[in-house]
Subunit: 131 residues, 6 copies
Amino acid sequence: MSNDKRPNDERFERGARALAAIDGRAGQNVVDALADIAPDFARYLIEFPFGDIYSRPGLGLREREIATIAALTALGNAAPQLKVHIEAGLNVGVSREEIVEILMQMAVYAGFPAALNGLFAAKEVFAARGG
Amino acid sequence: MSNDKRPNDERFERGARALAAIDGRAGQNVVDALADIAPDFARYLIEFPFGDIYSRPGLGLREREIATIAALTALGNAAPQLKVHIEAGLNVGVSREEIVEILMQMAVYAGFPAALNGLFAAKEVFAARGG
Amino acid sequence: MSNDKRPNDERFERGARALAAIDGRAGQNVVDALADIAPDFARYLIEFPFGDIYSRPGLGLREREIATIAALTALGNAAPQLKVHIEAGLNVGVSREEIVEILMQMAVYAGFPAALNGLFAAKEVFAARGG
Amino acid sequence: MSNDKRPNDERFERGARALAAIDGRAGQNVVDALADIAPDFARYLIEFPFGDIYSRPGLGLREREIATIAALTALGNAAPQLKVHIEAGLNVGVSREEIVEILMQMAVYAGFPAALNGLFAAKEVFAARGG
Amino acid sequence: MSNDKRPNDERFERGARALAAIDGRAGQNVVDALADIAPDFARYLIEFPFGDIYSRPGLGLREREIATIAALTALGNAAPQLKVHIEAGLNVGVSREEIVEILMQMAVYAGFPAALNGLFAAKEVFAARGG
Amino acid sequence: MSNDKRPNDERFERGARALAAIDGRAGQNVVDALADIAPDFARYLIEFPFGDIYSRPGLGLREREIATIAALTALGNAAPQLKVHIEAGLNVGVSREEIVEILMQMAVYAGFPAALNGLFAAKEVFAARGG
C-alpha cells in the first residue's frame, strides 16, 4: 500500500520543525525527559501546541511568544516553562528590552510578585546566554 | 508660588491621555465607577498602569495589548477587564483574527476552559462593535 | 447514660455561635442552601472554619476578617464569599475605609483587576447596607 | 485517488464520538457557539481533548470525569465547564453522591469557597435533570 | 470521672488511621514537621481532611486520590503535596499508568505546563520507589 | 531654577522610607537585584506599593501586613515574597503567634497545601531570626 504515513505524521513533522525553530534545544530536552514516563505526551506536545497552534498563519511567532511570556508570568506557577519561552522569545525576534517590558507590565495584571519572579527568571536566562 | 502643579500631575496627565487612547470610553467608565468608593484608586489606575507602564517607549502598544489579553485570559478571573482589553487591542491595531489566535493559544498554557471563556468574551465584544 | 452529647457537639455549637456573630444572616443562608445537597458540608463549614479556626484565641476577629478579605480578593474566584466577608468585616469592627484600603492594596499583590473587582463588590455591599 | 480522507479525519471522528458520548448535547452546544468566531478551535477541542486524551485506554471514563470535576472545582474559574462535566460525570456512571463527595473534598485542597461554588453548580445541574 | 476522652478523640483516631493508610510515612513527616510551629494544625490536618472527609463512605479511596492528584496538578502551586498524593494514589490502588493518564489529561484543563510539572513530579516519585 | 526635584521625588523618598521601615534589608536586596535588569521597576516598586499604598493613613501597617501575608499565602505562587512579608509582619508588630494563626486560617480559603507551605515558610523565617 502506498499510503504508509500514519494519519498524524504531517502534524507531527510540522510541529517538530516549529518546536526546533522556536524552543531550540530546550524543547528537545522536554521531549527527551518525557521519553520514559509519557512518550505519548511528548507527541501531543509536538502535535497540538506546535503542529496545530504555533503553525497557524494568523499571528506572527513574535506575537505568539509575547503572549506566552505574558501568560506564564501571570500564572506564576510554571517557572521552567517561562524560562524556555523567554529563550524562545529571543529566538524569534523579541528583544531583551521588550521581554523586560512585558514582565514589568505583568505587575499591573498579576501583581508585583509575579512580575518580580518573571524578571528574575529573565535575569537567569540572559546571564546564561551571555553579554 | 509659581510651581502650582502637584508632583504627580505630569504622570496623571500622561496616564489620562494613554487611558483614553487605549481603552476609550471603557476606561473612563471604570474611573467613573470608582468615584464614590475609591477615587484615589482611580488616580493610581491612571498613574501607574497608564502613566508609568503603558507610556514607556520600549514596547509598542500593539505588543502591550497582546500581552494583556493573553494574561487576562490565562488568569481567567477578570472577565470585565478582559473585555476592556479586547476592545483596547482593536483600538491599537490588533486585528480580530489576531485576537482569536491569542485566545486559542491560551488553551496550551491555561487549558481549554480559559481559552473558551476568552473566545466567548471576544464574541460579545465583536458583536457589540458590529460587522 | 449521662453523656448524651455527640463527640462534636461542642465544636458545632461553638462554630454556630461564631458563624452567627461573624457572618450573621449571610452565613445562615449558605447553611440553608446546602441543606438538600450536602448537609454534612454545612456541618463541616460550621465546625472547622468557625468552631476550630475563628474560635481560636491567638488572633482577633478584626484581624481574621482583614486576612480573609485580602485572601478572597487576591484569589479572585470567590465573589459571593468575598461579599459575605466584607459584611463580616463590618460586623466585627473593620471600617469601610479600612476595607477599601485592603482592597486597593491587593492591586500590589494580585493585580489591578483583582483589586477593581474587590472594590466593586464592596460598593455593592456598602450600598445594600445604606449610607 | 482512493485516500480521500484528510490526515486528521480519524482523530476528529473518534473525538466527535467521544464528545457525544461524554458531554452529550452540552458538548455540541460549545462546538456550535464557536462556529462563527473560531471554528478551528471547535475542531481542536474535538481532536485533542476528546480524540486524543479521553479516547486513551489507560484510564476509565468514570475516572476521567472524576479527575476533571475535581480540577475544574479547584481552579474555580470555569463555572460553565464545571457544569458540563458534572453532567458528563453523571453520563458515564459517576453517581450524584460521588459527585457531591468529590466537591466536598475540594475544600481540603482549594478551600471552602471553591467547594461551595462547586456544590451550588451541582445543585443547579441536578435540579435541571430532575429529582 | 469516667468520660476521659476529649470530644474529638474519635475523629482524631479515625483520621490518624486514614492518614497512615493513605499517605504512609509521608503523612507522618508532615505532622512531625508541624510539631514545633503549629501542632494544632497537625491535629486539624488529621481531623478534618482525614477524620472527616477521607473517612466518608460515599466515594472510594481510589476515586478520592484520583480527584486529589487531578486538583493538585491543576492548581500547580503545591508540588510537595502532589508528590505525597501520587504516593498515596499508588498506596490505594491507582496504577502508575492511571496516574500518568490523569496528569496528561490536566493539559486540557490547566494547560501543558501544569501537566508537564505533574509528570515530572510523578517521574521522581516512581524513580524513588524503584522499577 | 529653584525647583530641582523630579516630579516623583517625593513619592520615591516616602516609598524608600516605608520600604526600609517595613521590609528592612530584604526590601533593599530586591531593589539591588533589579539594578542590572530593570532599574525602573525597582523605582516603581518603591513608588507605587510603598510610596503610594503602604504610606496611606487609612489602615495601620500591622493590618497591611496581615492582609499581605494572607494574600501571598492564598495565592501560593510567591514564596520569596511571602518570606519577606512574614519578616515585615514581625517588623511592624504582628507576633509570631498571630502570623501562625493567619497562615492556618488560609486552609479555609485556599486549602491545606497553601496553609502548609505558608507554615513551612514561617518556620524558616522564625528559625533564621532565632529563638
